[in-house]
C-alpha cells in the first residue's frame, strides 16, 4: 500500500545552503529527517525552496561522516581515534608548544560561513583570548571582502541595502556578475516574478546565463563583456549618466559629498570612458552600454544585484565602488525598490563578516586598533587584547611557506579545494606543525591535518544565521550532533584546553554577548528572533525590530562618498601562449566545493565540472563535446571534459568548481584584489588542448 509515512515531529529552522537563508520545517520520524518543507512564514522565501534546501539533506547522515575526534603526530601516520578531552588536550598542547617556540603570532584560526553567528563569534574570540593574537579570518576573504570594503567606502555600510522582497517594487533590475537562478535560486524566482510583473531586466555578465534568457524573463540589454573589464564598463555606464546629464542632482546635493561628486564626474566623464572607446576593448556594442545606462538611470526605481563576478577580480573593490557610486549618482538608494545588493554565497557568510572574524576588525566592522572598541571587549572578556592587526588567510599561508606560521585551527572550510593556487596552499599546510580541522568529513584539507574535530551540521545545533539581506534567522537543533558536540561546544572546549576558561549553557548566551559588545546587534536576542521570526540588522534602540532598508534618511557617515574608480587592467592577460580567458561559476544542483551536495542524489544532474567553450575555439583545437581537454595556465594544469556551448563568446571558457578531482584551482592565479586580497578567480589566461577521444558528457 503506497501510503506515505507520516513525520512525527517538525522543527522550524534555516537552510544550510546559500545566502538566501530560506526558512524550512525539518520533519523527522523517529529521530531521522525525512523531509524538509519550505516554511510559509520564512521572510526570505515565503514558502518556496530549491533543489538543495528542499531535497539535498542526506549529506548529514552520509557514511563519510566522521563522528570521533582523531589525532596523529604526522600526516603520514594513520589517524588515531580519541575522546574529546584527549583531542582538546593534544591540540592545545601543540599550539602552546608552537607559540613557545615560534612566538604568539605563529598560530591562527579560520571561521566557517556554514557555522552559526554564535560559532563564528566564538572562533574570533578563541583567536583573541586563547591564541592571544588577531590571526583570525573567514572565507568571505575569498568572495565578498570587496563588498564590505567597496560599499563601506561609498555608502558607509558593507552589506545589502534592501530586503529581498523589495525587488517586487523595482521598475528596473540590473544584475552584474551574478546568476541568481543557479546560485540563489529562490531569490532568482522572486526576481523572475518581478520581471513577469513588468520590471525591465539588465544583465552585465560574460556568459549568456539562464538569468539572461529564460521563459518570460529576458534581459532587455545584456552586456557580455570580456572577463576583467567590469570597472571599465561600469565607468562607461557612469560616463553616459554624467555626459547625458542623467544623474539626480537633487539627491546628490542633499545626501552626498558634492565635491567628491565633482571629482568623480570629471573622472568618469573623461573621453577614455566613452562607450565608443570602451566598447571595442570590452567586446561590446557602444549602443548597448548607452541603452543600459539610460534605462538604469530612468528608473523610476532601479535596483542592483551583484555577485562574485564583480568582487573576484584584481579590481574587485573598485568594481563594488562603481556600483555604490552609480546608486548615489542616480539617487537609486535609500527607499524601497532601489539599492545595491550583494548576493552572498554561503548561508552565513554575512554573519562571517559581521561578527569580528577578521584580522583587523572586531564585531560590527570596528577596528582592533581602536582603543575604545578593544577596551569594550577587554572589559567583557577580562583579558588584554593585542592591538596589532593579525594575518589574513592568504598571508597565513605565505607566512607558513616562509616558516614563521606553524599552526592553524580551521573550522568547516576546505582551503585546499576552495582557495586559489592550490599548490601554494598545499605547501603551506604541509609546512605547518599542527593543523586542526573541524569538519563533517575528511576533506581535502583534513588529509593534511594533525587533529580532526568532528563537526556538526546545521541540523544538529541551535544558533542563528545572517543571510544576504542582513536577516538573522533561527537555526534549530533537529537531531543530536553525530559527533557528540555542536561546533560551538567544540570551540569552547578547545578554548578551555588552551587555558582561557569560559562556559556557555546555550548559544543564546553567546548572542547575548554579541549584543552586549556589538552596536548593530545590540537589540537582538533569541527571544526577539523567536517572537518576530527573523530580524534584519541594524537592530538597536533606534530600530528595535530591525531595519529592512538602509540609508533611508542619511548614510552612516552622514554624506555618501563618491570614490574614484580609475580602470587598471589586470596583469592576467591573454597571450599567444595562453590565448583564452577562463572564468568560473556555479550550477544549481551543486553547492560550493560540493562537500555536502556531492554526497546527495544531486549528482544525477551534475557529476563533473565541464569546460564550456565556444564552437569557434573548439573547432580551432579539434575539440568536440565529450572530449577530454588539458587546460593550462601560468600556474598549473588540469583536465576537464569539454562541452561546446553558446553561453560563452569566442575567447572565453568557463567551468564550475564543485568537484575536488577536477582541481580547477590548480589553474587560478595568485593575483588578488588590491584592497582585500580577494582572489582573482574570475580571470585566468589559459590554453586548452585535446587529450583524448570523446567520452559521454554527463548531464547533457
Amino acid at each position: 500500500m503506497p501510503i506515505p509515512c507520516k513525520p512525527d515531529q517538525s522543527t522550524i529552522t534555516t537552510c544550510a545552503y546559500c545566502g538566501v537563508g530560506c526558512g524550512f520545517k525539518a520533519e523527522t520520524l523517529e529521530g531521522r529527517v525525512v523531509r524538509m518543507i519550505p516554511w510559509k512564514e520564512g521572510k526570505a522565501n515565503h514558502g518556496h525552496s530549491c533543489v538543495k534546501g528542499r531535497f539535498a539533506f542526506d549529506y548529514y547522515q552520509h557514511p563519510d561522516r566522521i563522528t570521533s575526534p582523531m589525532i596523529r603526530k604526522s600526516v603520514d601516520d594513520p589517524w588515531q581515534e580519541v575522546d574529546w578531552d584527549t583531542a582538546f588536550a593534544y591540540a592545545a598542547g601543540e599550539f602552546k608548544r608552537i607559540q613557545a617556540e615560534h612566538g604568539i603570532t605563529s598560530v591562527g584560526a579560520v571561521s566557517s560561513s556554514r557555522c552559526t553567528n554564535e560559532e563564528i563569534f566564538l572562533m574570533q574570540k578563541f583567536a583573541r583570548v586563547a591564541l592571544r593574537n588577531n590571526n583570525i579570518d573567514n572565507c568571505s576573504r575569498i568572495c565578498h571582502s570587496p563588498t564590505q570594503f567597496g560599499l563601506s567606502a561609498t555608502l558607509g555600510a558593507g552589506a545589502a541595502s534592501q530586503h529581498f522582497d523589495s525587488i517586487l517594487q523595482s521598475d528596473v533590475v540590473l544584475v552584474v556578475g551574478a546568476n541568481p537562478t543557479e546560485g540563489h535560486p529562490v531569490f532568482g524566482s522572486m526576481m523572475k516574478r518581478a520581471i513577469r510583473r513588468g520590471a525591465r531586466l539588465l544583465v552585465i555578465d560574460p556568459r549568456r546565463t539562464e538569468t539572461v534568457d529564460s521563459p518570460h524573463c529576458r534581459a532587455e540589454v545584456h552586456l557580455a563583456l570580456r572577463p576583467g573589464t567590469n570597472v571599465l564598463v561600469l565607468n562607461s555606464v557612469a560616463h553616459v549618466i554624467v555626459r547625458e546629464r542623467l544623474y539626480n542632482e537633487e539627491f546628490v546635493r542633499a545626501r552626498c559629498d558634492w565635491d567628491d561628486f565633482g571629482l568623480w564626474m570629471s573622472m568618469v566623464g573623461d573621453d577614455r570612458y566613452s562607450p565608443e572607446v570602451v566598447g571595442p576593448e570590452a567586446g561590446l556594442d557602444p549602443d548597448d552600454i548607452r541603452r543600459l545606462a539610460r534605462i538604469y538611470a530612468s528608473g523610476p526605481n532601479s535596483t542592483i544585484y551583484y555577485g562574485l563576478g564583480v568582487t573576484e577580480h584584481s579590481q574587485g573593490s573598485t568594481g563594488v565602488m562603481c556600483l555604490g557610486n552609480l546608486t548615489m549618482a542616480t539617487g537609486m538608494v535609500g527607499r524601497e525598490g532601489v539599492g545595491v545588493n550583494p548576493l552572498r554565497g554561503q548561508g552565513n557568510v554575512q554573519g562571517g563578516s559581521c561578527l569580528g572574524s577578521w584580522p583587523h576588525m572586531l564585531t560590527g566592522y570596528r577596528f582592533v586598533t581602536d582603543d575604545a572598541v578593544r577596551g569594550s571587549f577587554e572589559d567583557e572578556w577580562k583579558i588584554t587584547l593585542d592591538s596589532e592587526p593579525g594575518l589574513r588567510l592568504p598571508n597565513m599561508f605565505d607566512a607558513a611557506v616562509t616558516g614563521s606560521f606553524k599552526g592553524i585551527y580551521i573550522q568547516g572550510e576546505d582551503p585546499i579545494q576552495s582557495d586559489p593556487n592550490r599548490h601554494h596552499v598545499e605547501a603551506a599546510l604541509r609546512s605547518m606543525e599542527c593543523v586542526v580541522v573541524q569538519d563533517l568529513y575528511l576533506s581535502e584539507t583534513a588529509k593534511l591535518a594533525h587533529v580532526f574535530f568532528p563537526g556538526s551540521s546545521s541540523l544538529e545545533k541551535d544558533g542563528t544565521f545572517t543571510n544576504a539581506e542582513r536577516r538573522v534567522s533561527m537555526v534549530r537543533k533537529v537531531v543530536e550532533p553525530l559527533g557528540g558536540l555542536a561546533d560551538w561546544q567544540i570551540t569552547v572546549g578547545f578554548m578551555n584546553a588552551m587555558g582561557y576558561e569560559c562556559h556557555y549553557d546555550h548559544p543564546s548566551e553567546v548572542l547575548d554577548e554579541i549584543a552586549r559588545t556589538s552596536p548593530a546587534y545590540s537589540g537582538m536576542s533569541f527571544d526577539k528572533i523567536e517572537k518576530l521570526g527573523s530580524v534584519q540588522w541594524p537592530c538597536n534602540t533606534d530600530a528595535p525590530e530591525g531595519t529592512e532598508v538602509l540609508h533611508t534618511v542619511a548614510f552612516p557617515r552622514g554624506k555618501g562618498s563618491f570614490m574614484l574608480t580609475g580602470y587598471l587592467p589586470t596583469q592576467e592577460r591573454a597571450t599567444d601562449q595562453y590565448p583564452l580567458l577562463l572564468t568560473t561559476g556555479r550550477i544549481l544542483s551543486q553547492y560550493n566545493v560540493g562537500t555536502q551536495t556531492r554526497r546527495t542524489a544531486n549528482m544525477v544532474w551534475h557529476d563533473d565540472d565541464l569546460l564550456e567553450i565556444s564552437a569557434d575555439d573548439a573547432a580551432a583545437r579539434g575539440l568536440a563535446s565529450g572530449d577530454r581537454a588539458r587546460i593550462s595556465s601560468r600556474y598549473g594544469t588540469t583536465e576537464l571534459t569539454v562541452q561546446i556551448s553558446e553561453r560563452v563568446n569566442p575567447g572565453i571558457v568557463y567551468t564550475t568548481f564543485h568537484f575536488a578531482h577536477t582541481m580547477v584551482n590548480n589553474l587560478t592565479s595568485d593575483l588578488d584584489d588590491w584592497a582585500t586580497n580577494c582572489p582573482e578567480y574570475k580571470v585566468t589566461a589559459v590554453d586548452v588542448e585535446r587529450v583524448s577521444a570523446p567520452q559521454p558528457v554527463a548531464g547533457s
Binding site: M1, P2, I3, P4, C5, K6, I12, K25, V34, R35, I37, P38, W39, K40, E41, K43, H46, G47, H48, S49, C50, V51, R54, F55, H163, D165, S166, L168, Q169, P185, V186, G188, S189, K192, R193, R196, R197, S214, P215, H216, C217, L588, S589, A601, N602, V604, W605
Partner: protein, 249 residues
C-alpha cells in the same frame, strides 16, 4: 500602491486561506451569520477561512492565484443564482454567504465521488494528504461504496509512475488534474516546465514535451510537490521501503 510582499508575508504556516491574501480597503460581509471583514480583492473562500468556516477545496491554495477547476468549494450567496465557487468569487460589501447546506453537501459529495472514481482504493485508508482531508469533510473517508454506480469506469491506473527524479515521484493514478503543480511551476518558481497535455479524460500533467521529470526542464525546486493536494507528486523519502502500487504487489 499595493505592497505585494505584505501579501506574501500574510501567509501563515498551518493555515491555507485558499487564495492569496490581498491588501485593500476593508470589506465586511456575512459568512454563515458571522460578520467578517477582509481586504477588498479577497475571495469569498479567504473570507470564509478567516471566519472560521472549513470549506473543502482541492485546486485552491493561498500560494497560487485562484483557478476554479475543482468545484468543491461551492457556496451559496444570497441574490446569486446557483452555487458559485468561493475561490473565484471576490468579496463584496454586504454579501450574505452560506458555506454549508444540505444541497451544498450533496453537490460537493457528488463532485468528490467523481474524483474518487479515478483514485486507487488502496491509497485511501491511512492517507493524510489534503485530498484525504477533503474526503473526510464530505463524508467519503472510506472511499466509494462497493456498489457505487461510478465504479468500474475508466481510470488512469495503468499509467506508469514516473520515478525518474531522485527526490520525488509522480503517480498519475492519484492525479486529479487540478493544475496546482503547473501553476506552482509558473507562478512561484517561474520555470514553466509543466503543462497539461490532452483534453478531457485524457488530460494529464506533462513535464516539458511529454518527457520524464528528470529529462524535462524541471529544476527540482519542489514547488509542484508542495502544491500537490493528492499525493500524486510526493517525496520519495516518505516511502522508505520504496514505492509499490497495490496492484503490483
Amino acid at each position: 500602491m499595493t505592497i505585494i510582499w505584505n501579501e506574501l508575508r500574510a501567509l501563515r504556516d498551518g493555515v491555507d486561506y485558499g487564495t492569496p491574501p490581498r491588501e485593500g480597503e476593508p470589506v465586511t460581509l456575512s459568512i454563515d451569520g458571522v460578520e467578517t471583514t477582509v481586504p477588498a480583492r479577497s475571495s469569498v473562500l479567504l473570507a470564509a477561512t478567516v471566519a472560521g468556516a472549513t470549506v473543502p477545496k482541492l485546486c485552491a491554495s493561498d500560494t497560487l492565484e485562484c483557478f476554479g477547476s475543482c468545484r468543491v468549494c461551492l457556496v451559496e450567496i444570497d441574490g446569486r443564482r446557483g452555487y458559485p465557487a468561493s475561490c473565484t468569487t471576490p468579496v463584496e460589501a454586504g454579501m450574505v454567504v452560506r458555506t454549508t447546506s444540505d444541497e451544498l453537501v450533496r453537490l460537493r459529495r457528488g463532485v468528490v465521488e467523481l474524483y474518487l472514481s479515478d483514485y486507487p482504493d488502496s491509497d485511501i485508508e491511512g492517507g493524510w494528504s489534503q485530498f484525504h482531508t477533503t474526503l473526510a469533510q464530505v463524508g467519503l473517508e472510506a472511499g466509494l461504496p462497493a456498489d457505487h454506480p461510478y465504479r468500474g469506469g475508466h481510470t488512469h491506473g495503468a499509467l506508469a509512475v514516473d520515478e525518474s527524479n531522485p527526490y520525488f515521484l509522480f503517480d498519475p493514478a492519484k492525479c486529479i488534474v487540478c493544475s496546482r503543480c503547473v501553476r506552482a511551476c509558473e507562478e512561484i518558481q517561474g520555470t514553466f516546465a509543466l503543462t497539461i497535455d490532452g483534453r478531457g479524460f485524457a488530460s494529464k500533467v506533462s513535464p516539458s514535451q511529454n518527457e520524464s521529470f528528470l529529462a524535462s526542464e524541471c529544476v527540482s525546486c519542489g514547488a509542484c510537490v508542495q502544491a500537490c493536494p493528492s499525493d500524486a507528486l510526493i517525496e520519495k523519502s516518505l516511502f522508505p521501503e520504496g514505492y509499490h502500487r497495490a496492484d503490483s504487489l
